[in-house]
């Protein structure tokens, strides 16, 4: 045979072969290890990049350009009849007041077209702000005061450096003339970035500079509170039954398999369930936090049940045996001894479930919480939207100013999630007991 004919290798030769293969194998080892590290680093890099994009886009949403103007509350415009009746004050043409203030600032502007361009520097909501202050305090009429008025969206973008001045005039949102005015205002200190209270206190709007997230925050709040009130007791009760009372049989196996599968069912399917059952069959109102909460309850229940069961499982049997030995009934054992010990774990699981529910969008789209809603919802059956849905709605808007608002809303959403998850971690760290 071939192999027997070969001359035997000397020890030196064999060693050389082994060393060569060892070099190769160690090299493979280092490469493999580097792949692993690269994968971890890649994952983190994605995370960092994602946050960088969101924060660099969204930081501007919390600041807003305002223009300082000397506003004269002209009685001839606001209340020509001099009645001071609230109805008349509400109906007055405050846009004209703003226009007059702008013209007073730039007296050399003439002609209709130029005036129209000039008025576009200030947001349309400035007139509403004036209306609000006049209705609240009619004695303002006839006086003048220095006021910071909301700048329009293009001016805001310009101030934040998101408009390229080098572009041809037709391709940017502001004309050369408007740029000149803006620069003049800036030079006089009459145009500045201020903290954006509108964004945090107003409802949705079609105009980026007037749009706020408060309506969505309130909608999310109502939805989440009801979700918590429903899913926590039900989830804990189900976990107690399955872990402490149920005998292992077909029925409990079925429930278990069901819970595990529901945890992995796509969330949009829960939305279909909500649409068909709660809205279609029970006739509940569309777009309401009530229905949203019911759907999210079904969605988070599996998470809470699984976490609660794990928490119950972690309580050592000796505790139960001791309680039963002292003559406690089964329910007393659970409610007086097991449940308090398992509570931190259950709460942790619940908070994590709530965090997931807060970020959930798809099922809410299905039940119509995706409408354009300006008003702040006041109850569980009012039409409302939720924070993630607001993100979705704004990301769809063509106006460039909404890119910033969307990122700003995401930052707020992430802030809530961070708070919730940190609470969960702290809870676990503080109350976790090892037996």
């Amino acid at each position: 045979m071939n192999s027997t004919n070969k001359p035997r290798k000397t020890p030196q030769e064999s060693q050389a072969i082994v060393e060569r293969s060892l070099r190769r194998r160690y090299w493979a080892e280092r490469r493999f290890r580097a792949y692993g590290l690269a994968a971890v680093v890649a994952g983190m890099a994605f995370l960092v990049y994602l946050f960088f994009v969101i924060f660099s886009n969204g930081a501007g949403a919390f600041r807003q350009s305002q223009i300082k103007l000397n506003v004269f509350y002209d009685p001839a415009i606001i209340d020509p009849a001099g009645t001071r009746k609230p109805d008349d004050l509400v109906a007055a043409d405050y846009a004209a007041v703003v226009r007059a203030a702008l013209k007073a600032r730039f007296p050399d502007v003439e002609g209709r077209a130029a005036t129209r361009e000039l008025t576009k520097l200030v947001s349309g909501s400035a007139a509403f702000d004036l209306q609000k202050s006049v209705v609240a305090d009619p004695t303002l009429i006839g006086k003048s005061e220095e006021r910071w008025l909301l700048a329009s969206d293009p001016v805001d973008l310009l101030v934040k450096g998101r408009v390229d001045r080098a572009l041809a005039e037709g391709e940017r949102p502001l004309s050369d003339q408007q740029l000149g005015w803006v620069d003049k205002l800036k030079a006089d200190g009459a145009l500045a970035l201020k903290f954006n209270t509108v964004f945090l206190t107003h409802g949705d709007s079609r105009d980026p500079e007037k749009a706020g997230i408060w309506g969505a925050v309130v909608g999310s709040f109502f939805t989440l509170v009801l979700t918590l009130l429903l899913s926590f007791p039900i989830g804990v009760a189900a976990a107690i039954y399955l872990e402490e009372f149920a005998r292992r049989n077909r029925w409990t196996d079925l429930i278990e398999v069901n819970i595990n599968n529901l945890a992995a069912v796509p969330s949009i399917v829960f939305g279909l369930l909500g649409l068909a059952v709660f809205i279609g069959f029970f006739g509940m109102p569309r777009s309401a936090p009530l229905v949203g909460a019911l759907v999210l309850t079904l969605l988070t229940l599996p998470t809470i049940i699984i976490a609660s069961r794990a928490a119950l499982k972690a309580v050592p049997p000796s505790i139960r045996e001791a309680a039963l030995g002292m003559g406690a009934s089964k329910i007393q054992t659970v409610t007086h001894h097991v449940l308090p010990l398992a509570m931190p774990g259950m709460l942790t699981g619940t908070i994590i479930g709530m965090a997931r529910a807060l970020g959930e969008t798809a099922p809410l789209l299905m039940i119509g919480m995706v409408a354009f809603i300006v008003d702040i919802p006041a109850g569980l059956t009012d039409p409302a939207t939720a924070l993630p849905v607001q993100v979705f709605l704004w990301s769809d808007s063509p106006e460039r100013g909404f890119v910033e608002k969307t990122s700003g809303a995401i930052i707020v959403l992430l802030a809530f999630l961070v708070v919730m998850n940190t609470t969960a971690v702290i809870l676990r760290k503080r109350f976790e007991r090892r037996w």
Binding site: F46, N261, A264, V277, G359
Partner: protein, 462 residues
Amino acid sequence: MTPAALLLALALLSVGAFWIGKTRSLAIVGGSRGVRNLHSLPTHYGFMTALWCALPALAVIGVWLVFQDAIILRLVTDHLPAGVKVLPANELSLVLNDVRNLVAGNIPAASVSEPVQAAAAEYARLRGISRMALTVLVLVMAVATILVVRSRIKPEVRARNRVEQVVEWLLIACSTIAVFTTIGIVASVAFEAFRFFSMISPLDFLFGTSWSPQMAIRADQVGSSGTFGAVPLFTGTLLISFIAMLIAVPIGLYSAIYLAEYAHPRFRTWAKPLLEVLAGVPTVVYGFFAALTIGPALRGWGESIGLNVASESALAAGLVMGIMIIPFVSSLADDMISAVPQALRDGAYALGATRSETIKQVVLRAALPGIVGGVLLAVSRAIGETMIVVMAAGLAANLTANPLEAVTTVTVQIVTLLVGDQEFDSPKTLAAFALGLVLFLVTLALNVLALHIVRKYREQYE
């Protein structure tokens, strides 16, 4: 009283009932000195009274509220003028919607016709009567049960056993909600899907290659054929999921290996949670990220090397979805790798294998079933993912395997078909439920399979 106020009143009554039951039991045995003559603790008598007060009343409220609206609408319909009553069902429901909206104050009275206004007044009147009746019934019932139970409290009544029996039934009821949810999903989605299949043949749906759900309103309308061949959606979903898995599986698996086998414990303790942050970011954020950053960037790169990349390409959506799924794969794989007994590794080391050889030839092979299960779960997650594809993938139902083109997915179509106003019995709306049924069944099958594999694997090493 509004239902909310009624519930509040009932809650207060129950608290009162607890107190009445407790003091009554004590009074019967002559104060706290006679407590040992009672079968149960005084609080048990309190709970017994409270439960008797609350539970039947709650049941009545529940049943009442479920049927109230339907019955009132029926009565209102009877009062509508004959001309309106003979309208077909869908137009009649529009009229009734007007009635309801008017009562709720969503639309001004001037915007609807005279009979609708009359019907709304009738609706409001009947609802008032119904609420009044419910309030009286519930409060009388609650008070009556409190009095009856109070008179029945005797030292030998086994209050604790009764209360605990009820509590146990409540626990059982809570645990069955999961089952009812599944039944609800299957029943509701399947019901609407069957209505769809009675209009469109299931074979056309499952094997047709043209998807264009817009129904023609006029006969000569272009591009509104109303064909429901879902194959382009299935291929689109699979294409995007495939791209996502191409990203997520290698990165997830390699990071799991690194974290479980190589990383210093200190590195691991902060790297692992940080990776899992990726899973905690809401999907709508990823969608925005994909649409704002990745899509345009890919398009730009494509242009610079002469490729035509759609701005809503399958690649962009798949890439971002892959990033989202990385922690999902890595944490499952990490669990599986950690579950492999140390003895297997020691055996390999003893034979002179390097660490990477041990991992590749022993640990991964031992953990393979578990990892496959985890990957299957990740695939099911990718198929069901909605927001990323809604925001970053297109609407055009292209039948293509080219990742640079725009494709659409099952979930995108469900959202587009159901968001906005729609009537409940057009094939267009019902098609969403048919797609939902397919989605549910496919993900369910994947989950069952994956959970089965994972459980089998876990048992092997326990």
